[in-house]
């Protein structure tokens, strides 16, 4: 997949670094055969120039402005607007990572796709163009860094080397110091730091420093605790995301989705990295790697959701929401539930059969503590992942231990039955 792939040992990374510094492949066409869909800013201009399209687009925006999307679906005018817009350039438009007017492009994209998406999709399609081949080189590069264990450097601390390399590059040094000093400046006894400013400084660092420096800092591979702790400290967790109480995953996601930039980066991350994340989890022996699809802008950093090393063990990595509350511009969610530890006997139950609420959207019947990605709220996502280290890092409303398997008995059917 795009994100991490096992490859024969390539030439030394530095050579790749230089080759990547060159311009992207010409012609904007990438080997996946993706037709060069126009970006949404351009598509919006094309639509505005065409009366039929611009009026329908206005209608759709009015339809979506209403609170309840479903009432919109019932409205014929909205449906008609939708149908026409499916034929317009707005329908297929995407955004380029780090383009000028990126935010405007994303706003246009979501204004269309909120109308098209069928209700709240769990994983949303990325608004960005598919990752180019040049990007996959960087992914490969990053996996090289992460998996690199040539004998000569096995002793050295890759993360320290990455910091040294950064300090020797004026741009990297300046922007690294920019976020470190912001994120470690204590405001008062009660206020550890300004998380908002810290997030902004981190986004600037990841946006303006080439991936060859940022990836080495973020995804350096480690063989010992000191190196792993240095790696964990890279984004100054004490300020950028750690909280006294674990935020609820779904709160975090809804905060992120309220912000077009964060929503886009999250969708981009899910689209490009979800596969490798699961793979990484299933084979912790190989230092797992999560790559963010584009070197610039860095889709994870600077938002409520970014991957990070959650503890200082050399291989464990997760995007579990507790790690996920990094540098978004959403509000901090403080919930007060305490984690229960008390097992209590239930009183006798009185027999009755009350009416059942129509929509059983019990959005929190999350049972499986082994799911350590974003806490799914759906029961259907049972134990897909094989058992790996339990990392229930955001409050999934249950810490149920469900390892009690029934004894293996043949269940013989009594004949008949409905």
């Amino acid at each position: 997949s795009l994100c991490s792939s096992s490859l024969p040992l390539p030439p030394h990374p530095d050579e790749i670094l230089h080759s990547l510094a060159g311009p992207p492949s010409p012609g904007g066409q990438d080997p996946h055969g993706w037709r060069g869909a126009v970006d949404c800013v351009r598509a919006n201009e094309l639509c505005a120039a065409e009366p039929g399209c611009s009026s329908r687009y206005r209608t759709l925006r009015q339809c979506l402005a209403g609170r309840d999307r479903n009432t919109m679906l019932a409205n014929k005018e909205c449906q008609a607007a939708l149908e026409v817009l499916q034929e317009s350039p707005l329908y297929d438009c995407r955004c380029k990572r780090g383009m000028k007017k990126e935010l405007q492009c994303l706003q246009i994209y979501w204004s269309i796709h909120l109308g098209l998406a069928e209700g709240e999709e769990f994983y949303e399609a990325s608004p960005y163009e598919p990752a180019t081949s040049r990007l996959s080189d960087i992914f490969r590069l990053a996996s090289i860094f992460s998996g690199m264990e040539p004998a000569a450097t096995s002793k050295s601390n890759h993360c320290l080397d990455a910091a040294k390399a950064c300090n020797l590059n004026d741009n990297c040094k300046r922007l690294r110091s920019g976020y470190i000093s912001t994120c470690s400046r204590e405001l008062s006894a009660a206020e550890r730091c300004s998380r908002r400013k810290c997030h902004k400084a981190l986004r600037q660092f990841f946006d303006r420093v080439p991936g060859e420096y940022t990836y080495r800092l973020l995804f350096c591979s480690c063989r010992d605790q000191a190196c792993a702790e240095r790696r964990r400290q890279t984004i100054v967790p004490s300020c950028s995301y750690e909280d006294k109480e674990k935020p609820n995953c779904l709160d975090l996601r809804s905060t992120c989705r309220a912000d077009h930039l964060c929503r886009s980066r999250l969708a981009d991350f899910h689209t490009n990295c979800q596969a490798s994340f699961h793979k990484a989890l299933s084979s912790p022996a190989v230092p797992p790697l999560i790559l963010l699809p584009s070197p610039s802008p860095h889709p994870g950093a600077g938002f409520d959701m970014t991957p990070n090393y959650v503890d200082a063990s050399t291989t464990s990595i997760t995007i579990s929401p507790n790690a996920i509350q990094a540098f978004g511009n959403g509000t901090d969610v403080n919930l007060s539930p305490k984690s229960p530890s008390l097992a209590v006997t239930l009183p006798a139950k009185t027999e009755q059969s009350p009416l059942l609420p129509d929509d059983i959207n019990d959005s929190n019947t999350i049972y499986d503590p082994r799911i350590i990605t974003t806490c799914t709220s759906l029961q259907e996502h049972g134990p897909k992942l094989n058992k790996s280290k339990e990392q229930s890092l955001c409050y999934s409303e249950t810490q149920l231990t469900t390892d009690i398997m029934p004894e293996q008995k043949t269940f013989v059917d009594q004949k008949g039955g409905s």
Partner: protein
């Protein structure tokens, strides 16, 4: 009403599979006896990039829920239904709707629905011999279902794969459901249907883990494969609130802590049902806690805060989740020191979604508000002050009785001027401080022989009630005057060495001379060496009210300027929390922390 046991289904569809090929068997469960399920496909086919297309290929039997191909899918159809042109696989979505009666068109928008993900594969269906046991027995879908508690029994899944059963008739595929004894599930070998045999009670058990074992026989060859079969029980609000050990009463005493927001007492209510943590507010509104009173003073002065979290009940060995609700009685505003009364305050807790009897519980708080007195402990204050003390020297602290326990009580201290012209001492009070700090405000008085013993009256006043108390303060001047050293800096902190430090005085000194604090000298440490007016108060990590009045008194605690050399800043970026070697400061300018071990003669002018 009727509901689906899954939120989504998935199956593969290959090119050129003949019309009529069965794909999926979707089941529905009843909400009440007598309901009959009608299945229906309403809308278009949704292509993965949210593009929709009219559905010509798939239909579902209204009565049985069997999804099947109504028209074969050829290569052209495939390209039409996929996003890119080089794709080998395209995912489309279908919505299956459910109704207790035959469908009318407009019903599609509101009816219950489940999603079917169909992976269209640009290749013809694999021959049976090429399929593994796993592919013959189970699809990609994991066998995980949800069943509502308290609902009638019914069949919710068919293990046999319709398409495999249709294509591979020469194979014998049989299933078994392995489960512990007495579980409420039954497997019908003829139909391969799995059914729940009785009403479930989530408060008894909320999850069942079975195993499905499939055996494939092809001539002499036999293959077996097992996969988990999970059933989660969906909760409904069928349990009333109850009191854990019957405690519905708690004492709430208000004495020294009279500040708004103070939690006076907490009472706990349990509920065997679960409570979603998200969205938080709607869950909170579900379980109300209202103060029952018609006394406006009580409703203004108190409020109830409700937090809940998950606990586990363990009926007969299995573990199920429930909810613990905590109701805290909180002061809604600060209470005057003069207020005192006792009364019982009742809070009605109500589980708004539980429709049976005993849906509410009454909690009782025995509230007693005690008066507190503003008085000095029965003593007078006496402090001796060295005549060589300099301005801002800290003499001592003044505090009424229990002053450190007070919260939400604003006591201010004042010195009433004495009758004679000697007036060297003043009092200051930090914003958060509960005491007054006495300090030398005019050191010139200390050297006047006529001023020996000065009497003040101290007055402490509570801002809100205006109640106040007085006591006597005696300041005794002692010690012989020392000769003032030439060329001494204003601030002790400016001295870099032990000798020059203790030769000089400086603002805040108690005895006319600065004090040298010798540090441990190892790395960057809070125990750095420095010259200070008083080791007791500076540096102590707190830029106190006296020190903050004049930067030269204790820059080590109060500087917000540049600190050069290895250091760590103090709380709120104020002061030097830790330093390397000796820390010294040029007030209102930089501070420095450096080791003093470089003896080499620095290349100066003539070098």
């Amino acid at each position: 009403g009727l509901y689906f046991p899954r939120k989504e289904y998935s199956e593969n569809v290959y090119i050129d599979q003949p019309a009529g090929t069965p794909l999926l068997h979707i089941h529905a469960l009843k909400d009440s006896h007598g309901e009959v399920a009608h299945f229906h496909l309403c809308q278009n086919l949704v292509i993965s990039r949210a593009r929709s297309h009219e559905n010509h290929w798939f239909q579902i039997r209204e009565k049985t829920g069997l999804l099947h191909l109504s028209k074969s899918l050829d290569r052209e159809d495939f390209n039409m239904l996929s996003v890119g042109n080089l794709m080998q696989l395209s995912k489309v979505m279908l919505y299956v709707f459910l109704s207790p009666h035959p469908f009318q068109e407009k019903e599609c928008d509101s009816a219950t629905r489940t999603t079917v993900f169909l992976s269209l594969i640009n290749a013809s269906a694999p021959v049976c011999s090429s399929l593994t046991a796993r592919q013959l027995c189970f699809t990609e879908m994991d066998l995980s279902f949800h069943i509502k508690e308290n609902k009638p029994p019914g069949t919710f899944h068919q293990l046999q794969l319709p398409s495999v059963h249709h294509l591979c008739q020469n194979l014998s595929i049989s299933y078994k459901l392995l489960a512990a004894e007495g579980l409420p599930f039954r497997y019908n070998e003829n139909t391969t249907g799995v059914s729940v045999t009785q009403r479930l009670d989530r408060e008894e058990r909320e999850r069942y883990e079975l195993i499905t074992k499939c055996t494939v026989r092809d001539g002499f060859r036999e293959m077996q494969v097992e996969v988990p079969f999970l059933v989660n029980v969906l909760d409904e609000d069928d349990s009333p609130p109850f009191l854990p050990n019957g405690t519905d009463t708690a004492d709430a005493v208000v004495e020294f802590n009279r500040k708004e927001g103070t939690v006076l007492a907490t009472l706990t209510v349990y509920d065997a049902d679960t409570t979603p943590i998200y969205p938080l507010e709607s869950s909170r509104k579900k379980y109300t806690g209202i103060i029952i009173t018609d006394d406006p003073w009580i409703s203004e002065t108190f409020r109830v805060e409700h937090v809940f979290d998950e606990i586990h009940f363990s009926p007969n060995g299995s573990q199920v989740r429930g909810t613990r609700h905590e109701y805290k009685l909180v002061l809604n505003k600060s209470i005057s020191v003069t207020d005192h009364r006792s009364f019982q305050l009742d809070v009605l807790v109500n589980d708004t979604e539980f429709h049976g009897p005993e849906r509410s519980v009454m909690l009782h708080f025995n509230v007693s508000i005690l008066p507190v007195s503003i008085q000095f402990p029965n003593m007078t204050y006496q402090f001796s002050v060295n005549r060589n003390a300099e301005r801002f020297a800290q003499i001592g602290k003044i505090c009424i009785e229990n002053c450190m326990k007070f919260r939400g009580v604003n006591i201010t201290y004042k010195l009433l001027s004495p009758n004679i012209s000697c007036y060297p001492v003043s009092i200051l009070q930090g914003r958060e401080d509960k005491y007054g700090s006495l300090y030398v405000n005019d050191s010139s008085v200390l050297s006047r022989p006529e001023c020996k013993e000065i009497q003040y009256t101290i007055q402490a006043t509570d801002k809100q009630s205006r109640k106040h108390a007085k006591t006597l303060l005696t300041i005794v001047l002692e010690g012989t005057l020392l000769k003032k050293e030439e060329d001494c800096p204003d601030s002790c902190a400016q001295s870099k060495h032990h000798a020059e430090c203790e030769e000089c005085g400086g603002l805040g000194v108690l005895t006319g001379r600065c004090q040298w604090r010798q540090g441990s000298g190892k790395g960057i440490t809070t125990n750095y060496s420095t010259c200070t007016p008083s080791i007791k108060t500076c540096p102590d990590g707190i830029c106190d009210v006296v020190e903050s009045k004049e930067p030269s008194v204790c820059p080590q605690d109060c500087t917000s300027g540049n600190i050069i050399g290895g250091h760590g800043k103090g709380t709120g970026n104020l002061g030097i929390k830790s330093g390397h070697g000796i820390c010294y400061c040029f007030p209102k300018q930089n501070c420095y922390c450096e080791k003093d071990d470089i003896k080499e003669q620095l290349c100066d002018d003539m070098c």
